[in-house]
């Protein structure tokens, strides 16, 4: 069964550094998403992306965050200047384009800011 894959599984970064989290969505999907989950808390929506542009973003997704689809298979989340509170699991998701399709999630990248 097709999967959303994310790399790396764990990223450790110094505060203030830039970090890029990578995702390969399911190949025939057209809608892409990033979510985060702080340890022990619920999953929170960050951003949705369709047709090469952001379609929706949450309050969490401020100017420090950006997303990109650099080629036909990858979808990235960049945090420009990381803060301690950015430490969390970051999940990528994708879905197909037919009506109500469920979002399928990757297994996440654990981001640890030191």
């Amino acid at each position: 069964e097709p999967e959303v894959t994310q790399t790396p599984s764990h990223q450790v970064t110094q505060m203030g550094q830039e970090v890029i989290l990578r995702c390969v969505p399911i190949s025939n999907h057209l809608y892409f998403y990033w979510y985060r989950q702080i340890l022990g808390q619920k999953v929170e929506f960050l951003v949705s992306f369709y047709n090469n542009e952001i379609s929706e973003k949450s309050e969490i997704f401020d100017d420090q965050f950006s997303v990109e689809r650099p080629d036909g298979s990858n979808f990235t989340l960049k945090i420009r200047s990381t803060k301690l509170e950015d430490s969390a699991m970051y999940f990528c998701a994708s879905r197909g384009d037919r009506g109500n399709q469920p979002q399928h999630f990757g297994d996440g990248t654990r981001l640890s800011i030191l």
Partner: protein, 115 residues
């Protein structure tokens, strides 16, 4: 504030029994609901979904019930197995057009299966 939440943080059931996990949502404009299962160290795994024009939907060993009058969603798991142990999240979507369909998740219920 949260638009989706769960009533219980932990639910413990005997193996072979049926489980019912409940969820309340607050946005009456939500038109699509999903249940996810999250095992330790993994991402949310899709279980079952339901549109707002339906009251009930069944899958393999799972049933989702939607009561729009009281804005309540439940997940029923029949004959629970050890592999059902996980945290279960409900999520909803409020349509906003233009491809905007970020999900709002509840806090999760940890389902524990007792042998």
């Amino acid at each position: 504030g949260e638009s989706v939440g769960l009533h219980l943080p932990t639910l413990s059931v005997q193996e072979g029994d049926n489980s019912i996990i409940n969820c309340a949502y607050s946005n009456s404009a939500s038109d699509y609901f999903i249940w996810y299962k999250q095992e330790s160290g993994k991402g949310p795994q899709f279980i079952i979904d339901i549109r707002s024009n339906m009251d009930k939907r069944q899958g393999q060993r799972v049933t989702v019930l939607l009561n729009k009058t009281v804005k309540h969603l439940s997940l029923q798991i029949a004959a629970t197995q050890p592999g059902d142990s996980a945290v279960y999240f409900c999520a909803d979507r409020t349509p906003a057009g233009g491809g905007a369909d970020g999900l709002t998740f509840g806090k999760g219920t940890h389902l524990i299966i007792q042998p």
